[in-house]
Amino acid sequence: MAKKQLVRVKVNGRDREVEVEPRLLLIHFIREILQLTGSHIGCDTSHCGACTVLLNGKTVKSCTMFAVQADGGEIMTVEGLMKDGQLHPLQEGFKEEHGLQCGFCTPGMLMSSYALLQHNAKPSEEDVRWGISGNLCRCTGYQNIVRAVRFAANKMATAEKKPEMAEVAK
């Protein structure tokens, strides 16, 4: 066994420091060491995207990286989406638009959608389809996932507009 190495990361806003084997995959680090089991493993060739998390703001397939490669970084997983006990608009969208069935791909889908909305606040159907094209779903046929993401985009746009509207009202 190779010498363990220290990994320091911030996960969903919380600092974590763990010594791990250099070969430990990031997904196993997240699921088994940090016990955040929302992110899943659906394949062994990095095709399915069930393990998608954000590393320093960008989506990564955490089955395709070692935990030590994330050292010093900031990780966000599905468990970090809720803020102050409130569901993220994407989470609401997935429930409202029936964007999930078995739920296994959902955490990865949510993270890819989150990243998409970060740089494209008003995605078209086509944009969403490309935005989630690194994530496989076997249940939904994607159509309601597309609706769910656009539901969230609309909701987030409305939420941003509200203060302006309040200004106008004054």
């Binding site: 899943h40 809720m82 078995c102 490309w130 076997r138 046929g141």
Partner: protein, 784 residues
């Protein structure tokens, strides 16, 4: 007519948002790989690289020396406990770990148990296995040759033939063919596919030496049946086995059989006395667990010159791989394949199937289909189009001419099924109107003049689901009923438990809606629990679209039993006769005096606090429902494709799906099921195949080359419905989850063939990859 409850109650017909979603969207689902028990260790399979080889030696010495390795189990070890083989669901047996020889690539040879996943994987690499290669059989036709090597030396029968099964009148059918003025035929290969749910199979076996109790958390679509199998095979008293099927990340039939990994994990836990986790990799899942289809089919239709069908003749060679591990009702070696007469009225029909062994992974499971119905629906919908070409008749017109008319239901098919209800022409008309069929034909004619390739495909399928009546259907002798238990709490809330098990179908919501419909208790006040054999009533599980036809029916009947008791309590409370009471969902009231009423919540409280003298306290009921017949959902799918001549790529321009699944519990969930099934149908038609080379090396053994559609390849689906309730189901439902996967492959293929039919193309085997189309275009001189 179903009484419509208020949205607050959320009975049948309401698009209630799913109760189960709250945990999944927060990453708080509990799938089997999320189960983490104190002291848990990990199992890893050692698998054969060869498709057929003599097993000379299995040397575990080096592996055992690796720090962290706890034990290694081989076939010889299991043989000592008489566990080297296990029974399949189809009168056959299967090796748990190989002894003597291996029969397919990736077959299970040894099971390594170590303290962590990584060590287990390292140790598996260190297990030294010496093989002596044997001649490999991958072609089922060659497997039938008299001189073919005999794969299964364990059987008395010294050839590779598993079964011959036939149904219908061979002679009468042959006679019709001899005289028929028009004949059409197709040889269609339904390729080997794998359901590939996004979660692979796995388990955590936890044997507690102190209590003698074995708990198995496993990806099981049929937890009760699996418990009984473990009891019968393993000799563990059944009350000491608890199977818990936690959240399941998709099943589609893949999680019906018992796999060697489960057995090895159980043996390891029994031996070591600690919890043992075994989780497949994706490659292991695709290469070794239940595949589907692999049917080499021929269908012929005899017809009049005006297109009236007279007889159907079907001959099929079924490749079951190394062991007949097909998961289907025991009396049906080819499942319900004899539904192959489809939506048409055939005076005569004959169907025969031969099953053979080859050096491929074992199986023959029902992949999102009711036991070979997908093969049957694809075949009939394909050959009807070939007949239309033969007759130069419009395929929609030909179908219309031969549909079983609505006034003939219940309809006895010439292959022995009694169809419960149907209105095929109405569904087809709606689909064709919606897609603009007549205009599309005009557009196609214009495009052909310009050399552009466009096709329209129709599939008017009939399904057969909801197995099934106990007189006909059993699995290893256990009748295929299913169950529901409802308990009403004193405050009027409820818990219900079923013998089925959701894998994403939304049972926690839909069953609650049935209770809401029948009792008027809001669906949000009803907890639905499944998958724990210690608490749920016995049932055969979820597959073959059977949950709504069986457990759904049981839920309604159990609720009605509760209502009967509630009526007695209400009469006591209102000081009237039961005969004076009327019911509307949620309350009993006195006829003519609606203000004199007792709500179900008030009655529930009284059942525990103020029951009539002499009445047993409490308010609960259980029902084991044996359906009187199967249900027969149907529909018409219409598809438009455009073909890129330069690349051979097929683009699905539009797809209209009209489904008829009888009365609907939750329209949102039904629509979601249809989207998903259509996408799997698309995958089968254009992408998915598990193939083997001549040496038996699996092709399509990982997501690298077993292609699943992403959101980009998947078109926008258009759905609609007609409603023809099942006359025998308690609330007229039929089941829907599999219809889109059963009905759609033929629609896609018919559309592609239609685009090329003027070039003389009558059939293309799936998956229709661009290179196949490109080769055809080259061969026909369309491109140079």
């Amino acid at each position: 007519m179903i009484h419509k409850t208020s949205p607050e109650v959320g009975g049948m017909g309401h698009p209630l948002r799913r109760k189960e979603d709250s945990r999944f969207i927060q990453g708080k689902g509990n799938y089997v790989d999320d189960v983490h028990l104190p002291g848990m260790v990990y199992g890893q399979m050692v698998r054969s690289p060869y498709a057929h080889a003599r097993l000379k030696t299995v040397n575990t010495e080096k592996a055992k020396k690796l720090p962290g390795v706890l034990a290694i189990i081989t076939g010889e070890d299991l043989a000592k406990a008489n566990l080297a083989w296990m029974p399949t669901l189809s009168h056959d047996k299967q090796m748990v770990l190989a002894t003597g020889k291996v029969l397919f690539q990736s077959q299970e040879v040894a099971f390594v148990i170590a303290e962590d996943r990584y060590t287990a994987a390292d140790a598996a690499e260190l297990v030294e296995v010496e093989y002596e290669e044997l001649p490999v059989l991958v072609d089922p036709q060659k497997a039938m040759d008299p001189g073919a090597p005999v794969l299964r030396e364990d059987r008395e029968q010294k050839n590779n033939h598993i079964f011959h099964w036939e149904v219908g009148n061979r002679k009468a059918t042959d006679d019709v063919f001899q005289k028929a003025p028009v004949k059409a035929s197709v040889n269609a290969f339904f390729q080997r596919c794998h359901p590939a749910p996004l979660e692979t199979c796995g388990c955590v076996a936890d044997f507690n030496k102190a209590t003698g109790k074995l708990t198995v958390y496993m990806t099981s679509q049929a937890p009760h049946a699996h418990r009984t199998v473990f009891a019968l095979v393993g000799g563990i008293p059944e009350q000491n086995i608890r199977v818990i099927s936690p959240d399941i990340g998709g099943g589609f039939g893949n999680k019906v059989p018992v796999y060697p990994g489960y057995v090895c994990a159980i043996v390891a836990s029994l031996t070591l006395g600690v919890p043992v986790k075994w989780i497949e990799t994706r490659s292991e899942n695709l290469q070794s667990t239940g595949f589907a289809r692999d049917y080499h089919m021929t269908a012929e239709i005899a017809a009049d010159r005006d297109g009236k069908m007279q007889a159907l003749r079907v001959k099929t060679l079924a490749d079951h791989g190394a062991f007949n591990a097909a998961a289907q009702p025991t009396k049906f070696p080819a499942g319900l394949f004899s539904i192959c007469t489809g939506s048409y009225d055939y005076p005569q029909a004959f169907c025969e199937v031969d099953g053979v062994y080859t050096n491929k992974a074992p199986g023959g499971i029902a992949y999102r289909c009711s036991f070979r119905v997908t093969e049957a629906a694809y075949l009939i919908e394909r050959v009807v189009d070939v007949l239309a070409l033969e007759l130069k008749m419009d395929p929609a017109e030909l179908r219309r001419k031969n549909f079983i008319p609505p006034d003939r239901f219940p309809y006895e098919s010439s292959l022995g099924w009694t169809y419960d209800s149907g209105n095929y022409e109405a569904a087809m008309k709606l689909a064709l109107d919606k897609i603009g069929y007549a205009e599309l034909r005009k557009e196609q004619a214009e495009k052909r003049k310009k050399g552009e390739l466009m096709g329209i495909g129709i599939s008017s399928f009939t399904e057969i689901v909801g197995a099934g009546p106990a007189h006909t259907f059993d699995i290893l002798g256990i009748k295929m009923f299913d169950s529901c238990e409802i308990r009403i709490h004193p405050t009027g809330k409820a818990i219900t438990r079923m013998g089925t098990k959701s894998q994403g179908q939304g049972h926690e919501t839909t069953y609650a809606q049935i209770v809401a419909q029948e009792l008027g208790i809001p669906a949000n006040d009803v907890t639905v629990e499944e998958g724990d054999t210690d608490t749920a009533p016995y049932g055969l599980g979820t597959y073959a679209s059977r949950s709504t036809p069986t457990s759904g029916a049981a839920t309604a009947i159990a609720a009605r039993k509760i209502r009967d008791k509630a009526k007695k309590i209400a009469a006591y409370m209102l000081e009237c006769s039961e005969n004076d009471l009327e019911w509307e969902p949620g309350k009993f009231y006195v006829k003519g005096a609606p203000s004199k009423a007792k709500t179900i919540q008030e009655i529930a409280f009284a059942a525990y606090t103020n029951m009539p003298p002499g009445m047993e306290p409490g308010l609960e009921a259980v029902d084991y429902y044996d359906p009187p017949n199967l249900t027969f959902p149907f529909g018409t799918y219409a598809c438009v494709v455009d073909i890129d001549k330069g690349t051979g790529e097929v683009k699905v321009r539009r797809f209209v799906a009209v489904d008829d699944c009888g009365n609907i519990i939750n329209p949102m969930i039904v629509e979601g099921q249809i989207h998903g099934g259509l996408t799997e149908g698309l995958a089968i038609a254009f992408m998915q195949q598990i193939d083997y080379d001549e040496s038996g090396n699996v092709q399509g053994g990982s997501f690298q080359d077993y292609l699943l559609p992403t959101a980009v390849e998947t078109p926008h689906w258009e759905t609609d419905k007609t409603c023809t309730p099942s006359p025998h189901h308690p609330f007229g439902a039929k089941g829907v989850g599999e219809s889109p996967n059963v009905g759609s492959p033929a629609a896609f293929v018919n559309a592609v063939v239609d685009a090329l039919s003027h070039l003389g193309v009558k059939h293309i085997d799936m998956p229709i990859a661009p290179w196949k189309v490109w080769n055809i275009l080259k061969e026909k001189g369309v491109i140079s």
